[in-house]
């Protein structure tokens, strides 16, 4: 390792092995929240040679748990894009994921229940790269954990079951940038930079007192693990927009898929209570049922389709049929509230927010955690740049660069997702017509599609 000339720890650090109670100390960086994003950040701070002199503390509220791959899939899965894969590759996390399990998505079809319009993305559009990967949250966390605890990383301390009782953040005019994290057992930790990776209800964000724009969607996300009627290659992700919200099937293996069904609160509650068989019927209905059509819309879309065909462009007629569902895995159903959230500031002196603490989106585009991993990538790049210039990671110039580069990416993505949600939540003829034709054209025009894909993979 490199000789440290970056910073000498001010206070002594005491450790009592096996018992975290007495861990007290001063760190360069404290990460509050060890979800997927917080753990990845800790891992990146440990792995980058330029950053490995930083003393890092990760505080996670949940107890440490041993994870083992079980035959049954977890109902919480995420779709990871290519950028997330390359980040995980650079952290040597991806190989662990591959060893456990993941399912590549090579084709994605999104279609409208109220018309014939459809859009598809396939590997051939991406130089034969996979469109996405479906990974269980637990698998990803476990893979990150393996690297985090490996002998390669020496500068990260972790406290599980951490109960944070409050924060003392630096005041505007403080020359000394230092935050204090107070624990409910009386321990305190100090740090130069506090990172809020504590999810959508971020206590760090609240302590910063920044403006947070948010609204609840009138929807819940019902998740479940599904068994398909017949075995297929199953590398397609399906999403159908119903007037009540999108229903999505994410492939897990040849006979199983994961469900994310966004629907009204009352419907979601009903779906959770239904006996398994009736739930499966309701789901098959949602995937297959013909909704009442409007002839105007149908006439227009078929006319646009024929024009596109004549012009030699994709007319969207080569639709594939979604699988039918045979059964739902026992007790795999659950529902999550869905909301939009945007923190107007991601930074304050000595503080930065990452992941859902800074931004929250509807899961319809499978972007949520990918945006968070993008934060991690950019933040660590800027830290590395600051250190390579001989400056502190808390230097406002780099924090500002982080905020503006991430907001420039995240906010348009969030707004686009929100607009999609609104566009498809209404069933008014002109709107259905507009979105259907829009979708047809987007599907046909390769450059537009490519733009969408590149925005969704960064």
């Amino acid at each position: 390792m490199f000789k440290t000339n970056l910073r000498s720890l001010i206070a002594s650090r005491k450790f009592s092995s096996g018992n975290n109670k007495q861990v007290n100390g001063a760190y360069d960086v404290i990460i509050a929240g060890g979800g997927m994003v917080g753990c990845t950040l800790a891992c990146a701070l440990g792995k980058r040679a330029l950053l490995s002199n930083l003393k890092v503390l990760l505080l996670e509220g949940n107890p440490s748990s041993e994870f083992r791959v079980k035959p049954e899939y977890s109902n919480r899965v995420v779709a990871l894009n290519q950028n997330t894969k390359s980040l995980m590759n650079s952290l040597e996390v991806w190989e662990h994921v591959e060893k456990m399990r993941l399912q590549p998505v090579r084709y994605m079809q999104v279609w409208d229940a109220c018309s014939d319009a459809l859009i598809s993305f396939s590997s051939s559009d991406l130089q034969d790269d996979d469109v996405a990967y479906i990974v269980e949250n637990d698998v990803l966390l476990c893979a990150i954990d393996k690297e985090l605890k490996s002998s390669n990383i020496k500068n990260v301390d972790i406290v599980y079951g951490a109960k944070i009782s409050g924060y003392d953040l630096p005041k505007i005019n403080d020359t000394k940038m230092e935050s204090t994290v107070k624990m409910s057992n009386g321990d305190t930790y100090k740090c130069q930079l506090l990172i809020g990776a504590d999810g959508a209800n971020s206590a760090v964000r609240k302590a910063m007192g920044v403006q947070y724009l948010s609204w609840n969607y009138d929807q819940m996300g019902v998740v479940a693990t599904l068994h398909l009627s017949e075995a297929t290659e199953n590398t397609t992700a399906w999403q159908r927009f119903l007037p009540t919200g999108p229903v999505a099937l994410l492939p897990l293996d040849s006979t199983r898929s994961s469900l994310v069904w966004s629907t009204t609160h009352s419907h979601a509650k009903e779906l959770l209570k239904l006996p398994e068989e009736q739930f499966v019927d309701a789901l098959n209905d949602a995937l297959w049922k013909q909704y009442p059509r409007r002839s105007v819309v149908d006439t227009c879309t078929s006319w646009v389709g024929s024009c596109l065909r004549r012009a030699g462009l994709a007319d969207g007629a080569e639709r594939q049929l979604p699988p039918s569902i045979r059964a739902v895995a026992p007790s795999s159903r659950a529902a999550f509230p869905l909301a939009f959230g945007h923190s107007t500031r991601y930074i304050a002196p000595g503080i930065a927010l990452v992941g859902d603490a800074a931004h929250r989106v509807h899961p319809l585009a499978g972007q949520g955690v990918n945006l968070g991993f993008g934060d991690v990538k950019d933040l660590t790049d800027f830290f590395a740049d600051a250190i390579y210039t001989g400056l502190d990671i808390t230097h406002h110039t780099w924090l500002e660069k982080y905020e503006s580069s991430r907001q420039r990416h995240n906010v348009p993505t969030q707004l686009a997702i929100d607009a999609l949600y609104r566009l498809y939540s209404l069933d008014i003829a002109p709107l259905v017509l507009a979105r259907s034709v829009g979708l047809q054209l987007t599907n046909a025009l390769y450059p537009v599609k490519k733009m969408i894909m590149s925005q969704a993979t960064t």
Binding site: N5, A49, N53, T389
Partner: protein, 296 residues
């Protein structure tokens, strides 16, 4: 001896001018920098050493430290200049791929910071591992720089060595010694640039690099820096700047090449006073940064 003293004076940059030299195109509150010139080493040598500390001196030092090291204070432009001049020097000396980078890229590099002032640049380079020698003709500044570096835990044990001297004198002791000489925001205060550059180059090893940053002599710097600041706004005493002492980049290039150097790079530099940000740019209208190699 006579000429030596003259030289001293030629390169006797007092704090006062140093502060203002910089203010010429940064709209900073210069009233605060109306400090009196600090004694130069020439004066210091004449003074007898006395053990009692002058309380006024202490106060002045405190004020001086505050002014030099307050990143949002009168010298904020010099602090933010670090964000481009440190990478400029670093990348001129080492180039390595993203994965090979470590926090001390300038390890094993001996660097001379000419006109180091309070040590803003010296400390920045030392943090990257360089063994830095900072020289300045201002005695107060050298004391201040030394003091500040001792109290900066981030330097670990790699403190710059500071000397109150001129580059002409320093070059007598350290010929062919440094891997790099940096003269940042200083040549515009020097009367005899020929001697100054020659001395700088002498301290360099063959193959070593010299880095110079300085405002350009252009109509813009004349109008903005001198007439506006000194006559219209009245924030700098008249006559602080001598427009004729500013250089243009071809003049500097010519001077360096005449002194056995090959100029490798010249960038323009732009300052945005409201966001206190510097940028390298194509336009050399305001200021420029030059990198040259001493020929073998």
């Amino acid at each position: 001896m006579e000429s030596r003293t003259k030289l001293f004076n030629a390169f006797n940059i007092n704090v006062f001018k140093r502060l203002h030299g910089f203010c010429n195109f940064s709209a900073i509150n210069v009233k605060k920098c109306l400090m009196h010139g600090s004694p130069s080493c020439a004066q210091q040598n004449q003074k007898k050493t006395n053990t009692t500390v002058d309380p006024e001196d202490v106060y002045r030092h405190g004020q001086l430290t505050k002014d030099w090291w307050d990143e949002q204070g009168v010298l904020k432009g010099l602090h933010s200049l670090n964000l481009i001049r440190i990478p400029f020097v670093r990348d001129g000396l080492v180039q390595c791929s993203l994965d090979e980078r470590d926090p001390t890229p300038l390890k094993d590099k001996k660097i001379l910071d000419v006109g180091c002032g309070g040590g803003i640049l010296s400390e920045g380079l030392a943090k990257l591992g360089a063994s830095v020698t900072g020289i300045d003709a201002g005695k107060d500044l050298i004391e201040l720089a030394t003091e500040h570096s001792k109290n900066n835990p981030k330097l670990a044990n790699n403190l710059p060595s500071y000397f109150c001297t001129t580059v002409e004198e320093h070059s007598q002791e350290r010929k062919d010694y440094y891997d790099a000489v940096v003269a940042s925001e200083v040549i515009e205060h020097v009367y005899n640039k020929e001697i100054f550059v020659k001395a700088c180059v002498e301290t360099l090893k063959p193959g070593g690099k010299i880095f110079v940053t300085t405002p350009n002599r252009s109509r813009i710097t004349q109008i903005l820096g001198i007439y506006v600041a000194e006559y219209v706004l009245n924030i700098i005493p008249r006559g602080t700047h001598q427009y004729d002492k500013f250089m243009t980049s071809p003049e500097l290039t010519f001077l360096l090449e005449r002194n056995n150097c090959h100029v490798e790079l010249t960038y323009g530099m732009i300052y945005y006073p409201f966001s206190n940000r510097w940028e390298l740019s194509k336009s050399q209208l305001l200021a420029f940064a030059t990198q040259a190699e001493k020929l073998k």
